[in-house]
């Protein structure tokens, strides 16, 4: 995940805890998460996510010809914390939750990573994410290490009071091992800015001070950063712009189809349209019909118009869409469109070996807004077709970069204008793209491999300079 699921930011009462029981599907929703569908994730496919992350690392290590010591050191987290969090249920009973924090590597700076409240959460999932954060921070050259944390729980089944107690309990267990100069948490799946504020408040109570840099993903009113809501989507477009430049396409001559209509997708549409591009198709979940639909308009979708017929969960009203001359198509039609660019910005593993063949031959670039939207098998096929894939690692890193900006601002207690946030974000994203693109070009590897290579190399170098390995 790109640090933070942007769906949780902004929007109406986005950080009010909500209790919704459902067969949950995370669909990149704007505002509240209504459902989290059990996606065909690595965990549920019985693929151990940590083992997979280690195997990716091994590949990069091999390319880098890392020493055995380095491999040994980097393929395991430096520190892990597992602890119990008792929570009063309100009916006189106490429920004990399990909390995790994994700090994979902090050679490049304090650790950074989300806290996920998710019923499917496992320690191996957390380890994998922590490792991924190490590489991700390194590849976009922000001076942070990688961490991840979580609590296996479904916050939608918990009262607000219990969620607050869970947050405060997590911090009480961890506060001596985290903090602005050690490890900075941020929201992840099913945690939101309100959770961050509770955690901050607990930390500041325990440490007897004000440390807004302890945590990121806060509301702007308590030390959040302007531009955080748009950062992931805008960051993706900055990279897309650079990719188009290198393919010698002008944005105004290109079209896009996008999966998802959450904050990431909306921000992508906004900025991509601003630079002249045309979005002709977008897909999103429909709660009533319990399936996604694609909405197509060949002369270009109007974001403002779409938002008028979209509910707080990011669902476009099917009937009203027809009223504004959109064709309503099956959910997977988004990837079959005759467009230049595809942006999967919803779920993981949406493009697999079984459907990769339906991608239109006109498609030249895929920018991964979601985490791991393309399976390994499909990735190979797409690379063979010569489609440029901007991997999630960097494509959706705008979120973590802006989290870093928030931390810097919070530590200074001096906040930047939105102009400055986006200015810096653009420079960071562009630099990261150029670094990875050039590495891929020189070594004749995919951008995904190059990003991995770059990230691992940076972290290994930091460890070496420190004299650790």
């Amino acid at each position: 995940m790109a640090g933070v699921p942007p769906a949780f930011y902004g929007g109406r009462a986005a950080w009010q805890p909500t209790v919704i029981k459902a067969n949950l599907l995370y669909w990149g929703f704007h505002g509240k998460v209504r459902q989290v569908r059990k996606a065909p994730s690595m965990a549920t496919d019985k693929i151990n996510p940590f083992k997979l992350a280690q195997s990716h690392f091994d590949t990069a290590a091999e390319r880098l010809d890392l020493s055995d010591e380095s491999r040994q050191f980097l393929r395991e987290p430096m520190r892990e914390y597992q602890f119990a969090i008792p929570v009063h249920t309100g009916d006189g009973t106490v429920k004990v939750y399990r909390g995790f924090r994994v700090q994979h590597n902090d050679a490049r700076g304090p650790c950074k990573g989300g806290i996920r409240f998710h019923p499917m959460e496992t320690i191996d999932q957390v380890r994998a994410q922590a490792m991924s954060m190490s590489w991700k921070c390194a590849v976009v050259e922000i001076p942070l290490g990688g961490a991840m944390g979580g609590v296996p729980c479904d916050p939608h089944t918990l009262s607000g009071r219990m969620q607050e107690e869970l947050c405060r309990g997590w911090v009480r267990q961890m506060f001596s091992n985290i903090g602005p100069v050690r490890d900075i948490p941020e929201p992840e799946i099913m945690t939101n800015p309100q959770h961050m504020v509770w955690m901050l408040d607990e930390y500041e109570t325990l440490t007897n001070g004000r440390y807004p840099g302890f945590i990121t993903g806060k509301p702007v009113s308590v030390g959040g950063s302007l531009g955080r809501r748009e950062a992931t989507g805008f960051g993706l477009v900055y990279m897309l712009r650079e990719a188009l430049r290198r393919k010698e396409f002008r944005p105004q001559d290109t079209t896009m189809s996008i999966q998802g209509f959450g904050n990431v997708a909306q921000s992508v549409i906004k900025l991509y349209t601003q630079i002249g591009g045309k979005v002709t198709c977008v897909s999103c979940w429909n709660q009533t019909d319990q399936k996604p639909y694609s909405f197509r308009k060949d002369d270009g979708l109007d974001l403002e118009q779409l938002l008028l017929i979209t509910n707080e969960f990011g669902e476009i009203d099917k009937e009203k869409a027809e009223g504004i001359s959109c064709e309503v198509l099956p959910g997977d039609a988004w990837m079959q469109q005759e467009v230049d660019i595809l942006v999967p910005a919803a779920l993981e593993h949406q493009i697999g070996a079984e459907n990769v063949g339906s991608i239109n031959p006109k498609v030249k670039i895929i920018a991964e807004g979601a985490d791991a939207p393309i399976t390994t098998d499909a990735d190979v096929i797409l690379n063979e077709k010569g489609i440029l894939i901007i991997p999630d690692f960097i494509a959706n890193s705008g979120g973590v970069i802006c989290s870093y900006f928030e931390q810097v601002q919070s530590n200074m207690n001096y906040y930047w204008s939105r102009d400055e946030v986006f200015g810096k974000l653009d420079v960071k994203m562009t630099s990261a793209f150029i670094n990875v693109y050039e590495l891929a070009r020189k070594r004749q590897i995919s951008m995904r491999e190059a990003a991995h290579f770059f990230g691992v190399a940076k972290v290994a170098e930091a460890c070496r300079i420190r004299g650790w390995i």
């Binding site: 601003q274 204008s417 939105r418 102009d419 400055e420 986006f422 200015g423 994203m429 562009t430």
Partner: protein
């Protein structure tokens, strides 16, 4: 006269490259859409200079366009829309309120990264200049209507440089909606909503001397001179030179004016003392020193004024100045002897230590060919004495001029007509007007130079009222119209007098200075075909003050009177002879 329309879109320029100074391109673009008139002129001249003025053409002088990038008009559109700025911009809010609202607004996210990269890469002063879409019409001058901001760009952190750059861009955007610009547009019969602004970010030509950054000299040259003096004719053109930044010239300060056909010809002055009074004694530079008071909505926020002593200690006067020798009441070229320095540019113009005049003449000829009309150009020059004397001319702007050649004859006999309100053989413009029924004049009896700022304000109020009423008027005042020195004339800006159809620039015994000959508002006068008549108080016939006094008064301020006539005036100016007459 043939006129050529130059309109260039962003597609004809390469996209901004984040290396800026390292990149080979002189001109790049951020955004899409149009790049405005000023930038279009620069792009055309970029190619012209490369083709016709390669290094070596003028021995010790080189010429090129300072490197620049243009923020195209689509960014302006988006900035206005996404921040919903049209509400405040089109309201009656004062300039500072509008400017503040623009400062609070956010630039479109797709371009701030380029600005950040630019701030990261560049540490030398930048000029943030307007390049409006309506300037593309080329026949409508916008000189001085929109703001330009110079920034030192030498702050230690890139964030600070970025912040200042962003503020400057927003300030230039806001200036589209400042009162002066709105009145100007109204006079043109256009709405502010038709205007779109591109912004040029350009390296400033100059050198750093202590805390000042400035070019050795700046210049404005026009290929047609409505105000020819002495042997020079209108087609000989005119050049104004000033030490330091060109703001001195653009603002109508004291500059050295000469005909490029007669560069050694001194201005006609009554005495050496008068010459000393009417030559430049101070100059503008970019302030590289202590940060000034924070004021992002002031054009001069990062500018500083300095005197000739500082320039001399900076070592820049050697090839620019003369020295006055009081013992024999004459000027000596250069700064060898002690004595007051006088900005005559004699070493260059008279002794020809640099072929500047030849280069300027050649540039004017070439620009005329490109534009298909008479032109005005702006430039800045830095000198280098490290290996002999060499110089570099940075070409800053080219504007086609509007020169009417309609045939009007004013015979000398008409001066003795009983109906003459005022007459002069020093008149500018060309044509006949016979529908002016209003006269706004500064009352001669109460006029004193110390009140000129108040007079400017009073004129501005009446001007506004008459514009709103849709009535053109004849304006009469004393000293140099638009002078930045209130002791040399009334320091109006164009918006104070923009509704006038004819202007008399007169002298009084108490304000007996060399008249500006309309130079401060040259483009405005020619564009709006405003007759500009200079009347010395010693001339015959004199202005008929008595008749004016007897006309029906519509309003009266402390120093300014507005009268409404029963019958319209007839105003005639013969552009060929420079003779003009106003008949009651």
């Amino acid at each position: 006269m043939t006129e050529k329309h130059i309109k260039i879109s962003s597609e004809q320029l390469p996209a901004f490259d984040r290396k800026f100074f390292d990149h080979l391109e002189i001109a790049t673009c951020i955004g899409s859409g149009f790049i405005g008139g000023k930038a279009s002129g620069l792009v055309v001249m970029r190619d012209t200079l490369a083709e016709h003025f390669p290094t070596g053409t003028f021995d010790s002088m080189t010429a090129n366009i300072p490197r620049f990038t243009v923020i195209a008009t689509d960014i302006f559109d988006r900035f206005m829309q996404q921040n919903q700025l049209y509400d405040v911009a089109m309201s009656d809010a004062s300039d500072d309120v509008i400017a503040h609202a623009f400062q609070e607004a956010e630039l479109p996210a797709e371009m701030v990264g380029d600005l950040m990269a630019l701030s990261q890469a560049i540490h030398t002063p930048l000029a943030v200049r307007s390049s409006s879409l309506l300037e593309d019409a080329m026949y409508e001058p916008f000189a001085g209507v929109y703001e330009t901001k110079m920034i030192p760009n030498n702050q230690t952190s890139k964030e600070s440089r970025f912040q200042v750059l962003v503020e400057a861009i927003k300030f230039v955007y806001a200036s589209v909606f400042f009162k002066g610009a709105r009145q100007y547009m109204k006079a043109l019969g256009k709405s502010q909503t038709e205007e779109k602004m591109a912004v040029i970010i350009q390296e400033v030509i100059g050198r750093r001397f202590d805390d000042r950054f400035y070019p050795h000299l700046s210049g404005v040259a026009r290929s047609y001179n409505f105000y020819p003096m002495g042997r020079a004719g209108a087609e000989d053109g005119v050049v104004e030179l000033a030490l330091g930044l060109g703001k001195t010239i653009v603002d109508g300060g004291l500059a050295w004016s000469y005909s490029p056909s007669f560069p050694r010809l001194m201005p006609v002055v009554g005495s050496m003392g008068e010459l000393l009074k009417t030559t430049q004694t101070s100059f503008w530079a970019v302030n590289m020193g202590e940060p000034p008071e924070y004021n992002p909505i002031a054009e001069t926020e990062y500018l500083t004024g300095a005197g000739l002593k500082q320039a001399e200690s900076d070592g820049v006067l050697k090839n620019l100045a003369s020295t006055y020798r009081p013992q024999d009441d004459r000027l000596v070229t250069g700064i060898g002897p002690d004595g007051p320095r006088v900005m005559t540019f004699a070493p260059i113009l008279a002794d020809n230590v640099l072929p500047l005049n030849d280069l300027v003449k050649a540039l004017l000829r070439r620009c005329e060919a490109v534009a298909g009309s008479e032109v005005e150009i702006e430039f800045a020059v830095t000198l280098d004495t490290s290996t002999g004397l060499t110089a570099h001319l940075g070409f800053l702007q080219m504007r086609p001029m509007v020169v009417s050649k309609e045939q009007v004859t004013v015979a000398a006999e008409e001066f003795s007509d009983d109906r003459v309100l005022a007459a002069s053989d020093k008149a500018l413009g060309n044509g006949i007007t016979s529908d002016i029924e209003d006269i706004v004049y500064v009352m001669p009896d109460s006029f004193e130079a110390k009140h000129t700022r108040t007079i400017a304000r009073e004129l501005g109020i009446i001007n506004q009222q008459l514009i709103e009423a849709g009535r053109k008027y004849l304006l009469i005042g004393y000293g140099r119209w638009g002078s930045s020195d209130p002791w040399l004339g009334i320091p109006v800006i164009w918006s104070h007098i923009s509704g006038s159809a004819a202007i008399i620039e007169a002298t009084l015994p108490t304000m007996n200075v060399d008249l500006s000959q309309g130079s401060h508002f040259f483009h405005n006068l020619t564009s709006f075909k405003i007759c500009y008549i200079m009347v010395k108080h010693t001339a015959a016939p004199a202005i008929d003050w008595q008749w004016l006094e007897n006309q029906k008064e519509e309003s009266r301020a402390q120093f300014v009177r507005h009268v409404h006539l029963e019958n319209p005036l007839t105003i005639k100016v013969d552009g060929r002879t420079g003779r003009g007459v106003i008949l009651k």
